[in-house]
Symmetry: C2
Subunit: 335 residues, 2 copies
DNA sequence: TACGTTAATGGGAACGTTCCCATTGTAACA
DNA sequence: TGTTACAATGGGAACGTTCCCATTAACGTA
């Protein structure tokens, strides 16, 4: 089959200049007589012309492509976020390139380089190690998915984990618990994790002493959750309720509790965070602090589109999506 | 900051022609004196030059971008496949565009159009409604993720669901079950689903009569699985073991069995398919037929790269990845 | 010494679009 | 009727790369 028709072929068939054809296809309110436009559209139809976005992008520096950089799409938290991003961007005509950093600094930097070489219009990133300055130097509009870290020169979007943690603890205290355990995720080299500060603040406000032994930090991962829970259960006076920094940790904790011959929620109440699918099908189904994952993606995409369209605003936004407590069967009054 | 340096700026600084610079950066065995190459590399370093892939792609018709079209990244089966695809392609310098069709024909066609406009080098697709002919007409190298359907003009990669089903049924019969229920997913308007034919073949081979009442078809979805199971449990002589066409259906079935006051596996054994994360954390953890999701993605990517590089081969491959039975707690001998 | 051969390099065209600027036609207005 | 204004259109340059072809230098060989 012969080569693809170009704007020039269309122009020839329609009997107009390529400029006019360009005006019709990019359609941005360019002045073209209705009759002429009709001729052009007909020629396009007849030839099966399709715009070459590469050529257009070379000229305009707009590629209608956006990158989404996350740690790992196979981690059950991210697919929904990605879905939100994609739905919001595709409806505006953008293609979404997805890449997984695996928390690796080199990969992440390579992705930034790729976004420059490919002249992506923007990017949405959950940073592993990239700093605010590096992101500025990258020179591409960006939105950061993370509230825990400092990106003063970007819009940041995230879930209000601090508030979410309060929700979980209020729920447990409301049930009558006073001895609250915390399995806190390890922050990735950034500042104090929000769940931990929220936990400490909450206990202070409620006049409950903070006991270090009830507080375990570990990397995110089911096995780490299990071991952390084992550690808590081995205490002479273990907690009667536990809040885990995410659902995967909570599932690990559930395992440990089971293996210790104890029951949830009769012996110990358990609350997770994120609301991934799996915690709705455990036995008991886990009470959890739901994050608005899909909305997170949508919101980030919306902010990004504004930046792409209106150039740099002079001040940046910090958008925290509220969490919501989902009561399931893993939390109950202490016995 | 001024505009980005181009190949011409590099040439000027290095004191050579742009052609020479091009030869250095595209590096494909072009004859350049070591000394000259060094000068060019130094100029590149000094200016911070980065190749504009748009411009290069316009000339060469190679974009180093590949599309992955799947039904829904938020469906727990796909993220791992996507991971496999991305890892295999990124290491070769390709960017991966991800799009969700939601089984919608219009969206899918729009994605194909996008892949043409953007001159993607190739695509990997789990087709919702696109036919072999349409995919041929698309004119872009492609690999199809699906064995159940007919794509004679493409490499197809998929899991051997037929063999996997046999694995599940052998397991159950091996445990002593004779009354085997099947919740079969509804095929999306294509041919006979492989799990159903496998089921029928298997029963014939083992001299077990096929009873229509033990066989339910429904769309994929937890709620459908639950209702299908309710239906099976309402039989005067319900099955003692059940194979569900995927894990989500199996989880729905588990729910229904629970709600009916029965126990798994004491009253009824349950086997799912796919091995998504959630079935490892249910109680009991589900026996399931694992698909090699990550490898599926890798294999598809590998095939695609071969097509991109070697143009069209004259005959196409059909690669079925074997399934593997994962024995967990949901299957046991009948009581 | 003349000549072919090859390695190394450079100049310009081409990829397909959009933008700038010029030109034409037509209507509105004094 | 002449002038101005604007709508509609066209021609060519530009975006940044790669490819084709030409040129030069260096070398071996008859």
């Amino acid at each position: 089959m012969g080569r693809r028709p170009t704007i020039i072929d269309v122009a020839r068939v329609a009997g107009v200049s390529k400029t006019t054809v360009s005006r019709v296809v990019s359609s941005n309110a360019a002045p073209v007589r209705a009759e002429t436009r009709q001729k052009v559209l007909q020629a396009i139809e007849q030839l099966g012309y399709e715009r070459n976005t590469l050529a257009g992008g070379l000229r305009t520096d707009r590629t209608y492509t956006v990158a989404l950089f996350i740690p790992d799409i196979a981690n059950p938290f991210w697919p929904e976020v990605a879905r939100g991003v994609q739905d919001a961007l595709e409806s505006e005509g953008y293609a979404v390139v997805l890449a997984n950093s695996d928390w690796d600094a080199d990969r992440e930097h390579e992705f930034l380089a790729m976004s420059r070489r490919n002249r992506f219009d923007g990017l949405i990133i959950n940073p592993a190690s990239v700093t605010n300055e590096e992101l500025v130097a990258n020179g591409i509009p960006a939105v950061v998915l993370s509230l825990d870290t400092d990106y003063p020169d970007f819009d940041v979007v995230g879930s209000d984990s601090y508030g979410g943690t309060t929700l979980a603890l209020e729920h447990l205290v409301g049930l009558g618990h006073q001895r609250l355990g915390l399995i806190s995720g390890l922050s990735r080299g950034f500042q104090q994790p929000s769940r931990l500060t929220s936990y400490v603040d909450f206990l202070h406000q409620h006049g409950i002493p903070v006991e270090d032994e009830l507080l375990v930090k570990c990397p995110y991962g089911q096995e780490y959750g299990r071991r952390s829970m084992e550690q808590l259960l081995s205490l002479s006076n273990p907690p009667t309720a536990l809040f885990a920094a995410n659902d995967i940790l909570a599932i690990g904790a559930l395992q440990a509790i089971r293996e210790a011959g104890l029951r949830v929620p009769q012996d110990i109440s358990l609350v997770g965070m994120d609301d991934i699918y799996a915690v709705s099908v455990t036995t008991p189904a886990l009470t959890t602090v739901a994050k608005q994952k899909y909305e997170l993606g949508c919101q980030a995409a919306t902010f990004l589109l504004e930046h792409i369209r209106d150039a740099a605003p002079e001040h940046f936004r910090r958008h925290a999506l509220p969490c919501r407590l989902i009561r399931r069967a893993s939390s109950a009054p202490p016995s």
